[in-house]
Symmetry: C2
Subunit: 215 residues, 2 copies
């Protein structure tokens, strides 16, 4: 069992964007940040439900596919689920429609945890809880039944698990653009590499995949 | 004629370090930041004057060798020359001993420009001036006689030339460590990539070489 996280970041370390509008809740920068990932066949199949077989199949797709392998439970922050965008909508069911790509229990960390679980036919089940990283990880590990636990995001949720020393493998896809604003993955993580072996690989798209792996 | 800059930075963007002491004027972080470069055969030959042929000869060395090719003049900041460390030493001749690795005119930008040029037998000549990036580049271009001009550093000098749109090719060697402090190359450079083609390559050492090239 390993605890894993994957993020797309800019060359200057930003994993979140700040140009969101009500009409474009992810913002234009977000599209540029994740363009190589959303072009992959895995993303199209697994997140968009596109079974045409279209999409890129190179290095980016290999990382995209690995993202979905052997995950038994996920932990995400309230922002990634959308609670910051729709705090008063008690019927909000996440961004992903009726086929969320998780297919496992997903623990959503929120102070507003008095929400019923949301269960989907494909195995995805969102559960809401107010908990520390350690507490949430204990629950998710139990739910994962021996498979890996993914810390899905957003960036401050991943950072809190990194700071607590709870992540065994961190993969970042670095898009060679400079955003200059947002939340920086690397802030306050001086010396993180000392607990990991770090390897890098450049994809055909120009994205640089950097992996921090323990041991 | 192209204007070029090369820097070693950490994964979180820091190109300068903050743990300097009088005994160790570069600091321990600096040694970690440039370890792959200082291990190259080119660095050992060209900067240390070691003609033994020892040192690495892979991707890092290729970039190291390119650093010295076709340079007709260099511009550097006062800090890189050492004026911030030894402001009152009028006999200070730089960090590099009597064989500075430049072998061309080097324009040192300083408000304390009332200093005589320092001429070395190997072609290196330090000249001191108070000038804007544009003014300094005009002088350096003239001195370079058709060869390239290198913006040598430190990081704020390179950043000022980048911000002024004066750099044709920027190469950064990204060492996969997180320093968490110092001067960040990427600060306030949002959108820089839009003027360049960006390519990346991973060296045997694990350093990721990223190049911004115009056109």
């Amino acid at each position: 069992m390993a605890v894993r996280a994957d993020l797309n970041i800019s060359l200057d370390g930003y994993a979140s964007t700040t140009d969101q509008t009500p009409e474009n809740p992810f913002g234009e920068d977000w599209g540029r940040l994740v363009a190589a990932y959303t072009a992959t066949r895995t993303f199209r199949e697994r997140v968009l439900g596109d079974s045409s077989g279209e999409g890129t199949t190179g290095v980016d797709d290999r990382y995209g596919a690995a993202y979905f392998e052997n995950i038994g439970a996920e932990i995400m922050g309230a922002g990634m689920f959308g609670l910051h965008n729709f705090p008063d909508d008690r019927d909000w069911r996440g961004w992903w429609g009726e086929e969320p790509p998780f297919r496992c229990p997903v623990f959503v960390l929120t102070h507003d945890a008095d929400r019923d679980p949301i269960v989907f036919a494909n195995g995805t089940e969102f559960r809401f809880l107010a908990a520390s990283p350690d507490e949430a990880l204990a629950l998710a590990t139990d739910a994962a039944g021996g498979e890996d636990v993914r810390i899905g995001g957003g960036v401050d949720t991943v950072r809190s698990f990194l700071a607590a020393g709870l992540i065994d493998r961190l993969h970042v896809g670095i898009t060679p653009i400079l955003l200059g604003r947002g939340q920086n993955l690397w802030a306050e993580l001086r010396g993180l590499e000392s607990d990991y072996t770090v390897t890098s690989e450049v994809a055909e798209s120009g994205v640089v995949h950097v992996t921090f792996a323990r041991g």
